[in-house]
């Protein structure tokens, strides 16, 4: 390792998640020579590995939506370009509303999307039921359908970007930790690693959860704070896609929104469901989870590894099926997303 470590780089990218690998990919493909990425463990081992994989495009401004749309377009071509499968499927997304104000919000975002040139269709509960047969729609007031949204495998996408970066001349190093950012006369000048210094014209911090601390060492302010996400892991569900589960809470205030793939045939897909969408589950394993205490997250709160198949604290034996739950401060707005592993 020490003999292969470059002494200098044009740009040092610190962090080998999806962001770092995309930065390295784009720099190298733009013709920037001597791009070097340094990942302290393995690519994606920070937080990219547990991404749910949703690839939505509609943001709150035209410029942000444009960046997200470009990302979607890139993922379409990444596999052909690099030879690395990405798992990207453009199945579309549906965001549903179970109260009037959420519906208003969705309608407004659809109007915005029209201005941005992103195809978004306002859909009725009947449309939604036709597209997502397993969804309970009795309390759904409507929603929006974005045909070009999709999902991907975050680890595979990152590896594809890494491949593309290497093919364009970037050097990516794993198991190589940056221990310090070097500076002189008000400028970053390189990094110190476990195996020696590297000079650079420019340093990019793509260090996710660790950025606040790393940036602070050189007086750069990045206000970040890590938050927990929760997971539930399920048995394989008999029949088609897993269904949503009843809310783990008994709070009756308004629901959150949810989205589901609009693929009309039951197929693997990433989707979320509102806790107020009371679809009965087909999986006994899922039922037993949902009947647990309403105020505690009803799933494994431990760190989950992609190769982990031990029992979760919820009881049922886990499979590779993965569920990501984002727990809001108020339990009634918990949303659930999962995909087939």
């Amino acid at each position: 390792m020490a003999t292969r470590l470059p002494r200098r780089a044009s740009v040092i990218v610190i962090g080998g998640g999806v962001i770092g690998c995309s930065v390295a990919y784009h720099l190298a493909r733009a013709g920037v020579a001597d791009v070097t990425l340094l990942e302290r463990r393995q690519l994606t081992s920070g937080t990219t590995w547990h991404a749910a994989g949703l690839v939505g495009q509609l943001r709150t401004s035209i410029n942000m939506t444009e960046l997200a749309r470009y990302t979607s377009e890139l993922y379409l071509s990444l596999e052909a370009e690099t030879g690395q499968a990405t798992g990207y499927r453009r199945c579309g997304s549906i965001s549903i509303a179970t109260d009037e104000e959420r519906l208003e919000e969705l309608r407004r975002s659809a109007s915005m999307a029209k201005v941005f040139g992103l195809e978004v269709n306002v859909v009725t509960p009947a449309d939604i039921a036709a597209r997502v047969p397993m969804l309970h729609t009795a309390d759904v007031l409507g929603g929006i359908h974005i045909p070009s949204d999709g999902y991907a495998n975050a680890v595979d996408v990152t590896n594809a970007l890494a491949r593309g970066a290497r093919a364009a001349g970037a050097r990516l190093f794993e198991n190589l930790a940056v221990t310090a950012i070097r500076t002189a006369r008000g400028s970053a000048t390189g990094v110190t690693t476990e195996h020696g210094d590297i000079d650079a014209d420019c340093v990019v911090l793509c260090t996710g959860m660790w950025t606040r601390e790393l940036a602070a060492t050189v007086g750069v302010n990045v206000p970040l704070h890590a938050c927990e996400h929760y997971y539930a892991l399920f048995e394989s569900v008999a029949g088609s896609c897993a269904t949503t589960t009843p809310a783990p809470t008994t709070n009756t205030t308004r629901a959150g929104s949810s989205s589901a793939p609009s693929n009309p045939t039951p197929a693997p897909g990433a989707w979320r469901a509102s806790p107020r969408t009371s679809v009965s589950t087909r999986s006994p394993a899922v039922s037993s989870i949902s009947s647990r205490s309403s105020n505690r997250p009803w799933c494994a709160s431990r760190r989950w590894s992609p190769r982990d198949s031990r029992r979760s604290s919820a009881g049922p034996r886990v499979s590779r099926r993965m569920c990501a739950i984002t727990s809001a401060r108020r339990p009634n707005s918990t949303t659930v997303s999962w995909r087939r592993g």
Binding site: A51, G53, T71, E101
Partner: protein
Amino acid sequence: MRYHLGQAPELDNCFVAAGLNSIGLQSAGGIGRVITEWIRAGHPPSDLWEVDVRRNHPFQRNRKYLRERVSESLGLLYATHYPYRQYDTARGVRRSPLYDRLQAVGACHGEVAGWERPNWYAPERDRARYEYSYGRQNWFEHAAREHRAVRERVGLFDLSSFAKFRFQGADAARVLNHVCANDVDVRPGRIVYTQWLNARGGIEADLTVTRLTRDDYLIVTAAATEVRDFHWLQRHVPTDAHCVLTNVTSAMSVISIMGPNARALLQSLTPDDLSHEAFRFAHSREIELGYALVRASRITYVGELGWELYIPTEFTAGVYDT
């Protein structure tokens, strides 16, 4: 929630692309592209203000603040995104000297850059809180009354959250004239409303510049762009220039008196001549007010006759009571 992107203002040649908060995968392509263009061109390729790291304020790296605020903001990600939605956590971080007095008269404060600012006033003090909706919210009629009051009579605004900088030195005028689109080599006591443009003619800042003396300028800009604007000017000061830029945001509060009756109100409180002949628009000078000496700038944010009063912080309550 917005991620953090761009060139760090504190350190040259250091870029950040982090804090993606569950939208990393769907943003990565775009981020890689714009960071690449930003590094190569030395400027962002498009309007990325909402994710630019220069929107961050130094106090926001405080860990108690972060812990409490993110515990709410993460949940809000999936909540209904009402217009004008305010945070509940980590409030009251930056308060003007008038905060308590204004709350006592029914101010409903909202937060920007940590600053508590009266967004509207309720006639009953206990109703001074937002009731959110996508339709007309509960403050609408109160804002209408305020509008009419300022338009027909006079109103008082607490604008203490303005970012304020002093730019001083023998080269201050020359450097500032290079950075400002408008000519700021004016007589002391003049206020110039101007923009700071980039090399492509795009607007980087929108602010006022007041020449206090030959070598001393006061720059006033928005609370939200305090960091961004400070670093823009700082970055454009040549290394051999004899001038110093100082952030004096905390040194002064700002009370703005606006409306057709502004002159009558203020004249009753000061022996100094506020007549139109003696004190023209876009002029600034020190006046006596109550027991204090304050800088009165005849400028307006609302299109009415009025003055912005720049008051050393410790004099503010006394001036308000006057």
